[in-house]
Symmetry: C2
């Protein structure tokens, strides 16, 4: 009923998993989207402890797939700034639903209550604001 209809091309879920179906990629997206991190060094400092080569590989892959872009920092010319593209920002609904799922089904996880309340009552606005906030990450 919801599955096969005019199904001819590749499965959308399989396609998505080929891009971010691993242990680390969505954590990189999370850092960029929710935590205002845009530097390699900031992401490497995340508490989960991604290895430097793994982070480098994920950033390269995300750029290759057009989810993030890579610039030289306009102020500090030595640093590199990673930013989510529109395609990357469009993953916001996926991340929001993952957060809701974890929060609903596991007591040990911690999402801000205001975030969850907002997601329940005004999901579209929350997503719009999350994207807007991630867009204006400047430094």
């Amino acid at each position: 009923m919801a599955g096969e209809d005019g199904e001819v091309g590749r499965c959308p879920i399989d396609h998505a998993l080929a891009i971010f179906g691993d242990r680390w990629t969505l954590l990189v997206i999370r850092d960029l989207m929710f935590r205002g991190k845009c530097h390699y060094s900031e992401m490497i400092a995340s508490p989960e402890g991604i290895a430097s080569n793994v982070l480098a590989a994920r950033l390269k892959k995300l750029e290759a797939h057009g989810l993030i872009s890579r610039h030289a920092d306009p102020e500090n010319r030595k640093q590199i700034v990673y930013r989510l593209t529109d395609k990357g920002l469009a993953l916001a609904p996926v991340l929001v639903e993952i957060v809701r799922w974890s929060s609903a089904h596991d007591p040990g996880t911690a999402a801000p209550k205001a975030f969850l309340r907002r997601a329940a009552r005004d999901r579209e606005a929350l997503i719009r604001e999350t994207i807007a906030a991630a867009k204006k990450t400047r430094r």
Copy 2:
């Protein structure tokens, strides 16, 4: 703004990825949720071609985390039926958003247009119906 507030426990995204953050797990969920598959042999026949040992490992892990349950088929006593638990069914919004993202950003992927239209206009109802349909997978 959306990230750290009363953040004390584990990151919900990290927690979720520990469960389904790999190349295969969400495809198993997809088979159970959208394709009415409930037997090992049906899942192994999916076009992506999961290996038998990998499928067995994922099913075991999903059961351990309480996303699926395992029963003997009431009719054909030899077969085993896998079913999504409420916790597993609650992943429906995540899968729906993944489908929407892939469909929106990659022309090669194929989701039924009716599904996408429904997701855009009446997301909650679509999710409810998807869950209801997955629940009554009997055989």
